[in-house]
């Protein structure tokens, strides 16, 4: 019965008193070094962030390759600060929306709109605001950059968390109420684990998008204020001014390393770990793997360390429940009804006031001709987005299907596609601009592809996912019936991947709108290229510090994006969900 005793000891052993020794093994060493490095980096970066603004003028960003690792670190740190802020925002706001009907009424439409607003346009205001908030320290500019990334990340994360909270399995909800779990315990035992897979996936997508914004927001010019925070984005800006192609390529390489490290060291381990939260009762065939996670799990000291952390977590989850079972408060119905009654008028009043302020602000400095100009340019950009998404689909859908139907290829290509989607395309822009200048191409046409340079990959990897998930029996049936190839595309595979394709194309088109602000204007040294479009309009207004036109540009772009989503993507997605969802 030795085996049985062994198995039992494994779980019954009290903290840190196992039969195996405390000597660290190889895995411990590797993980320890990694963690230590993270802490050193954090400390350094944080100290630098607090430095006075004068440092920026004394030590401007230089194209010295020795500085590049530090710049990469600073860029990464901004990214993590934003993701932490986004997570906090998610937990607070999404929970509020899920628990309170009144909050929901305001928060959910707001999230929906904010998701589609071009966040780069915000930079103008946030930079001014944060610089004013911390006048003497670099922190102001840092906050502005971090906030820009935050605005690119937070909304879909909050939305995902909210949706998870609203779709908690009914039986688990009943168990939690039945056994009288305190709200705190309920959050950690039911809500957070249930929401984890969706939230992690959305966080990963947000981070992918985030690299683009961190690069775009480091070197900002608003009116007379020019800020260049140490980071890859500023390095790139300096390199463009100096027409230094070698420096641009160095930035591309560094960025690739950073994203690769982020993927391997952070994202994949977390996905592998979060696999246990997937809400299903059967064991999965294929589980996500990560070598870092394997190291973590095999490390002896590390395992003990995580046990200690789990123990602390458990003590935490016990807290705030000193009164035994919670007593359900029953508020008098009449009070609730009065608040309900007043809530909508309050919201409407706030909206009316806001409208009036906006109107006043715009009216004093803008005319109707500005509005028509903005809409005209907006339509130009809209045409660009549609044409480019269509072109990208024509290219990537067949390729994605080909890859997705071949598991060996899919396994290899999928991580590459995800990597490319995360790679900030704006790092590559200068290369394209050099080519346009060299060959004297028409910027109205040739600047456009930059808009989908980074976003087309969403189409590719979603189509690959869809084709991989396509049921084998349906494929076999179509082989048996010898469907001709166009018939096969039309009635078998395209309907089968439609839900996935729509998801990918929706993400890609949203990203392209955002990218237009950076992509429709480009420069190389003194040469400036400009394509006619709403993105260039916003970028120009930002540089000139012309706030009313920035507001107008953003508003028009938001309207176009929201309208396009409502009129095209959403109906298409619903159709795909209803008619073509396989299984």
């Amino acid at each position: 019965m030795a085996e049985e005793t062994d198995g039992r000891l494994d779980w019954a052993r009290p903290l840190g008193l196992g039969p195996t020794g405390l000597l660290p093994n190889l895995y411990d060493v590797v993980i320890f070094i990694l963690i230590a490095a993270v802490f050193v980096g954090l400390a350094h970066g944080a100290r630098e962030m607090m430095a006075p603004t004068s440092r920026l003028t004394l030590e401007p960003v230089t194209l010295d390759a020795g500085n590049l690792p530090e710049y990469a670190l600073r860029t990464t740190l901004r990214m993590f600060a934003a993701i932490v802020a986004s997570l906090l925002f998610t937990f607070v706001v999404a929970t509020l929306a899920a628990k309170s009907r009144k909050a929901e009424l305001v928060i959910i439409p707001a999230l929906d709109i904010l998701q589609s607003v071009p966040v780069l346009g915000f930079l103008t205001f946030t930079v001014v605001f944060f610089l004013g908030l911390f006048p003497q320290s670099q922190l102001g500019a840092e906050c502005a950059a971090i906030f820009a990334i935050f605005t690119a990340q937070a909304w879909n994360m909050a939305f995902s968390f909210y949706q998870s909270l609203r779709t908690l399995p009914r039986d688990l909800d009943e168990v939690s109420r039945h056994f009288g779990l305190s709200p705190w315990l309920r959050f950690w035992r039911l809500e957070a684990p249930f929401a984890a897979p969706g939230l992690i996936w959305n966080t990963m997508m947000s981070m992918s998008g985030g690299w683009f914004f961190v690069v775009a927001s480091e070197a900002i010019t608003v009116g007379d204020t020019t800020v260049k925070l140490p980071g890859i984005g500023s390095w790139l800006a300096v390199a463009i001014d100096a027409k230094d192609l070698r420096a641009v390529l160095l930035a591309v390489g560094t960025m690739a390393m950073v994203i690769l490290a982020y993927d391997q060291l952070l994202f994949r381990p977390i996905v592998a770990w979060a696999d246990k939260f997937r809400f299903e009762q059967t064991a999965a065939q294929q589980r996500p793997r990560s070598w870092v996670y394997e190291f973590w799990r095999r490390g002896r000291v590390i395992r003990r360390l995580s046990a200690v952390m789990a123990w602390i977590g458990r003590r935490l989850s016990m807290m705030s429940n000193p009164f035994g079972r919670p007593v359900r408060k029953v508020a008098p119905a009449i009070v609730g009804r009065i608040v309900d009654f007043l809530w909508l008028p309050i919201v409407l009043a706030v909206v009316a006031y806001a409208l009036w302020r906006i109107f006043e602000f715009v009216e004093s400095s803008l005319g109707w001709s500005d509005v028509t100009t903005a809409f005209g340019l907006g339509l130009l950009t809209l045409v660009r987005v549609i044409v480019l998404i269509a072109l990208a689909s024509l290219v990537w859908v067949p390729i994605g299907v080909w890859i997705g139907l071949r598991p060996w290829a899919a396994n290899r290509v999928q991580p590459v596609a995800q990597f490319l989607a995360a790679f900030p395309a704006n790092v590559l822009f200068p290369v394209a601009v050099v080519a346009i200048v060299r060959f004297d191409l028409n910027p109205d046409i040739w600047l456009s592809p930059l808009m989908v340079l980074g976003t087309q990959w969403y189409i590719l990897f979603n189509v690959i996912a869809g084709a991989s998930a396509f049921p084998t029996d349906l494929r076999e049936v179509s082989t048996l019936f010898r469907l001709r190839s166009w018939q096969w595309w039309r009635s078998v595979i395209l309907p089968g991947i439609l839900p996935y394709y729509v998801t990918g194309a929706l993400t890609a088109s949203g990203g392209s709108w955002n990218a237009s602000i950076v992509a429709e204007v480009a420069s190389w040294g003194d040469t400036k290229l400009k394509a006619a479009g709403l993105g260039a309009y916003i970028a120009g207004a930002t540089e000139a510090g012309d706030y009313p036109r920035v507001v107008l540009g953003i508003a028009v772009m938001s309207i176009l994006v929201v309208a396009f989503n409502r009129l095209v993507w959403r109906p298409l997605y619903r159709l795909a969900e209803r008619r073509f969802r396989v299984n």
């Binding site: 039986d171 009943e174 109420r177 305190s182 684990p193 007593v327």
Partner: protein, 437 residues
């Protein structure tokens, strides 16, 4: 029902007093539970037996304090229930285990919520796991376990908080036949040996044999609205034998009671609502044909005892009754006193070729299903011979919930499609007369 028969001893553990439950919806409220009164005493297993949708699970949730009753009250001990009561613990049909917690953590969750010290918690949980036959599985995750093992975890989790009353909501119905039987036997063993720290069990089930096998008393529920229509004391000694003639007799009796026609109403009284507002169950015409063929063949020759018919088919009353009752609605069979008998039309149906069957089925659908008649009439009257589904949905929702309206429309659509009475295009939501040929 006046007052339920109380167990002889002292005051009952749980008293349900004139509980009513209403669900609000469009054209007035739907009565789900109608003045239900019952009492649960010390040391007894009581079953609430009824068909799905009769409100028995709702009643269990009201007793558990998971939802408030519209009227009436539940008393446990000397306290009125208003929120989750510590004296009861519930076992769920779907097991309701947290997939991200291990077996041990799942069992501990109730104790953790009470703020019990981890060491103490650990000890109690291990004892419960031992008792229920789960030792060795403590660190496993639910997804690694079979259904039977998962329900054992559910049972251990309920027992570990030392409730007075164990509430079981169809605890064996998600399990296969063999596993369910093992679990029932184990539970009865623990019960009769007094090894579980509980005073009584309230079991919700739709399985007649399960109720007879396990309980001291059976409360039979009627549907629409749910109310207690019969109380049957089961005096057979444990362990009970399903083949024992007395056991069979009791099962037969209960079948008869559950298929008894309401005295005052005509045949369609088995379904709630009348005319086009009748709520119909979704039964595939394939099932109709299948059951009629079995009935017509040896050994039944057109006439069968429902329990005898049910057991080789592995159908429980929730599967069998809707088929039998829709056959009755279509006048292909008669159901009464626990028996089912093919009518002359039913006999003829079985003899016919597929095309003839379709024609006969169509005639009966048009003659006996008012909603099908109604849709067909509207289609005939209109010059386009088409009508949107929304038109009929609206009419139905005046009388029933959205879900019931949806279910009824789907049922009628599937019967009409089989009989080619009319066609329906799912993507546009339009009924029409043209059948694609």
């Amino acid at each position: 029902m006046g007052t339920a028969v109380l167990p002889a001893a002292d005051a009952p553990l749980v008293v349900v007093d004139r509980v009513r439950q209403l669900y609000p919806k469009g054209g007035g409220d739907v009565l789900v539970l109608d003045d239900v009164t019952l009492a649960l005493g010390d040391d007894e297993i009581v079953s609430l037996l009824g068909r799905s949708g009769c409100g028995k699970s709702t009643l269990l949730r009201i007793i558990a304090g998971l939802m408030p009753a519209s009227a009436g009250q539940v008393t446990i001990g000397d306290r009125t229930v208003a929120g989750p009561a510590p004296e009861v613990a519930m076992v769920f049909q779907t097991f309701a285990l947290f997939p991200w917690l291990t077996v041990l953590e799942n069992v501990e969750i109730g104790l953790e919520a009470q703020g019990i010290d981890p060491v103490e918690r650990h000890k109690s949980a291990l004892a419960a796991i031992d008792l229920i036959g789960l030792d060795g599985y403590e660190s496993a995750y639910p997804k690694e376990l079979s259904g039977g093992m998962r329900q054992r975890v559910g049972l251990a989790r309920a027992l570990v908080v030392h409730p007075k009353v164990l509430l079981m909501d169809e605890p064996f119905s998600a399990l296969d036949v063999l596993t369910a039987e093992t679990l029932r036997t184990d539970l009865l063993d623990l019960w009769s040996e007094g090894r579980m720290p509980i005073s009584s069990i309230l079991l919700v089930t739709h399985n007649i044999e399960e109720a007879v096998l396990m309980s001291d008393r059976i409360l039979v529920f009627s549907s629409n609205p749910g109310r207690v229509v019969a109380e049957i004391a089961v005096a057979l000694p444990q362990p009970r034998n399903r083949l024992d003639p007395a056991f069979r007799q009791l099962v037969d009796d209960i079948y008869a009671r559950m298929t008894a026609r309401p005295v005052s109403k005509p045949a369609e009284g088995v379904f709630p609502g009348t005319g086009i507002a009748m709520v119909l169950p979704r039964v595939s015409p394939n099932l109709h044909a299948g059951l009629m063929e079995i009935l017509a063949a040896e050994p039944y020759r057109g006439h069968a005892d429902l329990p005898v018919l049910a057991s080789p088919l592995h159908m429980e009353i929730d599967d069998l009754f809707p088929v039998a009752e829709t056959l009755q609605l279509l006048r292909f069979a008669e159901v009464a006193e626990g028996d089912i008998k093919l009518t002359e039309a039913g006999q003829r149906f079985v003899q016919l070729e597929p095309d003839g069957r379709k024609k006969l089925f169509a005639q009966h659908v048009l003659a006996y299903v008012p909603l099908a008649q109604h849709i067909r009439r509207v289609l005939d009257e209109r010059s386009t011979h088409t009508a949107p589904v929304g038109r009929f949905r609206g009419e139905l929702e005046d009388h029933m919930s959205e879900d019931s309206a949806d279910q009824t429309l789907r049922a009628v659509t599937s019967w009409a499609r089989y009989g080619e009475v009319f066609a329906y295009d799912e993507s546009t939501g339009v009924f029409s007369l043209d059948n694609p040929s």
